[in-house]
């Protein structure tokens, strides 16, 4: 595991894990290069640039070229990690992601930094709460939304080891390291159950996972047994885990994303075609007003209280 120093009170910025891991991987794999668009600092790649100056390509503020150059570098035998703010590497370069990366099925790793509403007050142009919906349409593009520093490091290693297109959605929001059983592993497409439970299942990813765990604790104190699943891979989904979740009779999804077409939509597609149970999708309704990330989470119920409320309400709808 690539250690990243905790920032404050045991909280981590997962970009540090990304940076430490890619630097370590690059030491042993000379094919690895990074591609940025005036996004060295915002990707925390200053250290990489120092160590491997000739293995960083900065195309300037030009995200369409950024992604396409990644495809070209892969053609030339490199393993490019293409990194920029998630809102721009997806939205601005969507057709390049579709045609040059996914449809061409090339070995490029796209890293969407500061995803979700991390840019808070900078507003919806800089929020990336549509990215999962957009990218989920490209069936062969692996989509990973790590929840903490360890999983971010593991996701980057798994992306490097996999021969094909991968998108890793990295957060800059402070998150704690999750408690896991010793020997826990990460595999693309495999979800992890962090809390066992039988009355309902909360399926979360990214920055919402630790909030879901906290909500489950609150609920346990009232005698409600809520399972918590960290669905770090959104494509492909872990359908076995979703089938098991449906057996609890109620599913609540939570994501730092729009309620339209993200993790919730993906889970709902599976649930509706297999074992329909009451579901609730928590996320942002669409463009959000001005506010800090913390304010936005609280205002839209993306916190411990909001998640616990949604679980109670969804259990009440059980048939």
């Amino acid at each position: 595991m690539s250690a990243a120093a905790p920032s404050k009170a045991g909280l981590f910025d997962c970009r540090d894990s990304f940076a430490a891991t890619i630097e370590a991987l690059a030491e042993s794999d000379s094919r690895i290069v990074t591609v940025v668009s005036d996004s060295v600092g915002s990707s925390k790649l200053g250290g990489f640039k120092k160590k491997f100056p000739e293995r960083m390509v900065n195309v300037g503020i030009a995200e369409q070229t950024l992604v396409a150059v990644g495809a070209g570098l892969a053609n030339g035998g490199k393993v490019p990690f293409v990194s920029a703010a998630s809102c721009f590497i997806t939205g601005r370069a969507l057709e390049q992601v579709k045609a040059d990366i996914a449809y061409s099925n090339v070995n490029v790793k796209l890293i969407g930094q500061s995803s979700g509403v991390a840019y808070g007050e900078l507003g919806p142009t800089h929020h990336s709460i549509e990215d999962l919906a957009w990218l989920r349409l490209f069936n062969n593009l692996k989509l990973i939304v790590p929840a903490d520093p360890w999983q971010t490091a593991e996701a980057i290693k798994a992306a490097a080891a996999y021969d094909g297109p991968v998108f890793v959605r990295v957060s800059r929001m402070a998150v704690p390291a999750l408690d896991r059983p010793a020997g826990a592993t990460f595999e693309i497409g495999k979800a992890e159950t962090l809390v066992e439970g039988s009355d309902a299942t909360i399926i979360a990813n990214g920055t919402m996972v630790h909030r879901a765990v906290a909500a489950a604790k609150t609920l346990a104190a009232e005698g409600i047994s809520a399972r918590v699943v960290n669905m770090a891979t959104v494509n492909p989904l872990d359908e076995a885990v979703i089938a098991a979740a449906a057996e609890t009779g109620a599913i609540i999804t939570v994501e730092e994303h729009s309620v339209r077409g993200g993790l919730g939509g993906a889970v709902a597609e599976v649930v509706i075609s297999t074992n329909p149970v009451p579901m609730r999708i928590l996320g942002f309704p669409g463009f959000v007003p001005t506010g800090s990330a913390a304010w936005l989470f609280d205002n839209f119920g993306l916190n411990e209280t909001g998640i616990a409320d949604a679980v109670r309400q969804t259990i009440a709808r059980k048939r």
């Binding site: 005036d38 060295v40 503020i61 030009a62 007050e121």
Partner: protein, 279 residues
């Protein structure tokens, strides 16, 4: 400002200088209080904005959607400190609203939103959007044979976005003399100098090659800006590109030409020092 037909009474550089000083001070206060923003680019753009709003453009803040108004598109939408300050100063909304910059539910979002504020023509923030939208506005004016002019301000790093060059082709092709692009040529982008990232020089030749008329000015000299921006575009037969040579952080010694102030925010001591210098 007077309605479009009335003569300009305050198009003198000394008045513009006073407005620019006010904008610098007010925008830096906003950034200090919000502890967020892009003060370096606010300061490089301030003299351009002050010249446009207090010496060149015809608009009526009480009738912000007047079809005859001159249009301004703030393509470098991250510089809302300066942009909101100039809009408030021009009378689009109360200056007191500036204190809400970036607060929850504020109309003064980190990037401008036309649905929140009068005087904002289009929502910006992602770079490389302003010129293509301004191109569309200018084409509408061309179709209608209308009198209004369209101005758009971009950064220089922003010109690395290919969308600008697509719009440049059509602007030149359509000989849009009612369209004026101003480039805030501060030679710095977010992380480094433009010429060390994806170089732009010779920038004037590039625009000429795309069919634009080019003027290169000192972007902090109000008289020079006033001269090129207020000259009648009639008969020029080309869109105008003004390359305004500026400095990021202009006006404050420790911010001058310093990339750290792209989105740096001041401490109390730095804020006070800046206010002592901005007089």
């Amino acid at each position: 400002m007077p309605s479009p037909a009335a003569p300009l009474k305050n198009n003198i550089a000394s008045d513009i200088a006073a407005q620019a000083l006010w904008i610098r001070r007010r925008s830096f206060q906003m950034v200090y209080e919000a502890q967020q923003g892009h003060p370096g680019g606010d300061f490089s753009a301030t003299d351009i904005l002050a010249t446009l709003y207090f010496g060149v453009m015809r608009y009526d803040p009480k009738n912000p959607t007047d079809p005859k108004r001159d249009r301004f598109v703030m393509s470098k939408g991250h510089c809302t400190g300066a942009f909101y300050s100039v809009l408030a100063r021009a009378g689009y909304f109360p200056e007191a609203d500036l204190t809400t910059y970036m607060e929850p539910l504020s109309k003064l979002n980190g990037h401008p939103n036309r649905n929140y504020l009068p005087g904002v023509e289009t929502n910006t923030g992602p770079l490389g959007h302003g010129l293509p939208v301004a191109l569309g506005i200018a084409i509408a004016g061309q179709i209608d044979n209308a009198d209004f002019r369209t101005f758009v301000l971009t950064g220089d790093g922003e010109l690395q976005e290919g969308s600008n060059w697509e719009a440049a082709l059509t602007g030149g092709h359509r000989k849009l003399e009612n369209l004026t692009l101003i480039i805030d040529r501060n030679r710095l982008q977010q992380g480094a100098r433009t010429e060390e990232t994806a170089s732009l020089d010779p920038l004037d030749d590039k625009w000429r090659a795309f069919g634009w008329h080019v003027e290169v000015v000192d972007g902090h000299d109000h008289a020079q800006l006033l001269k090129v921006l207020s000259a009648s575009p009639k008969g020029r037969g080309k869109p105008l590109c003004v390359i305004a040579n500026t400095f990021k952080g202009k006006g404050v010694s420790f911010m001058h030409d310093n990339v750290a102030w792209h989105h740096g925010v001041p401490t109390k001591e730095q804020y006070e020092q800046a206010m002592r210098e901005l007089v």
